[in-house]
Symmetry: C2
Subunit: 176 residues, 2 copies
């Protein structure tokens, strides 16, 4: 490992980005920032449905969780941990009452997807994202304009997901 | 039209099933029960997502609305009325708080899909389902065991959907 690479590791470690020291042969750029996925996986809006959810509180969204073919297959087979190639997409929209639906139903009961808020992804690649650092997952968030989340925010993904260790860091269960 | 067919039309009309008298060449069995779709469209769980919603009240469900390829294309192109071949699927699950998610988040905020409640479909076929009777749509509901809704229940679909005439009887808008 060259001096510049070592320096980068040291800086990243001080910044709290690295929680895992790669072996001497490790590639520092891959290990140092395992949680920063900068590209939106193409075609995700066409993926199949895993489940749906509503988050109250600050989020106040309604969401769909979609999976690519690898993800859907693993879910349906109950396969854990998820294999490399798995991508899980979480699309969220603002949670809004539907006045037009309520008018037809004759009472306030209907809540629908409003404007998009953001999209998140978990990408399983145990080579690219160190197993010891993030369980082999890369995390990503993009706002409604496609802008990725900043580093401070992205660092909050893993500690929360890590609490779902028994389900390979994934919160969402498959909805039959 | 034979005497038996005429009799059937008369009986159906008295029962309130027929709201449209077919032309003399019309096939009575198709016109008399336009809203009863008895077969679950195959593969619907693999269709692409249109949107998500939560219904309070007696339903108390969280739901995903999926579309077959014809439906998704029409939605994305803003095409109205929906073309023949469109099938829209609405899958609903009981709306349940997620104790396991809330434990991680440190507060009650997460609601997820519980057990399946039922699945509904709207199938556009202007030949099979008379335009004047149901706007060319066939309606269907199947409970979690795949059992279709009874006739009394199925007759409630159209009058409610008919109030969304400006959107070809479809409540759900596409979530981008």
């Amino acid at each position: 490992m060259g001096r510049i690479a070592l320096l980068l590791v040291a800086v990243a470690a001080l910044a709290g980005v690295v929680t895992y020291m790669p072996p001497a042969s490790g590639q520092v750029d891959k290990e140092a920032a395992p949680i920063f996925v900068k590209e939106i996986p193409p075609g995700y809006r066409d993926w199949r449905l895993i489940s749906v959810a509503h988050e109250e509180g600050n989020l106040n969204d309604i969401r769909a969780i979609l999976g690519n073919d690898v993800a859907i297959k693993a879910y349906r087979e109950g396969k854990l941990p998820f294999p490399d190639g798995t991508i899980i997409a979480r699309i969220a929209w603002s949670y809004v009452p539907s006045e037009e639906n309520n008018k037809v139903f004759g009472r306030p009961q209907s809540f629908v997807a409003g404007s998009p808020t953001n999209v998140q992804f978990m990408i399983k690649d145990s080579t690219k994202y160190a197993a010891a650092a993030t369980g082999g997952w890369g995390f990503a968030q993009f706002d409604k304009d496609g802008k990725p989340g900043d580093e401070a925010f992205m660092k909050t993904c893993f500690p929360c997901h890590a609490q779902e260790k028994a389900r390979d860091l994934v919160f969402t269960r498959y909805a039959p």
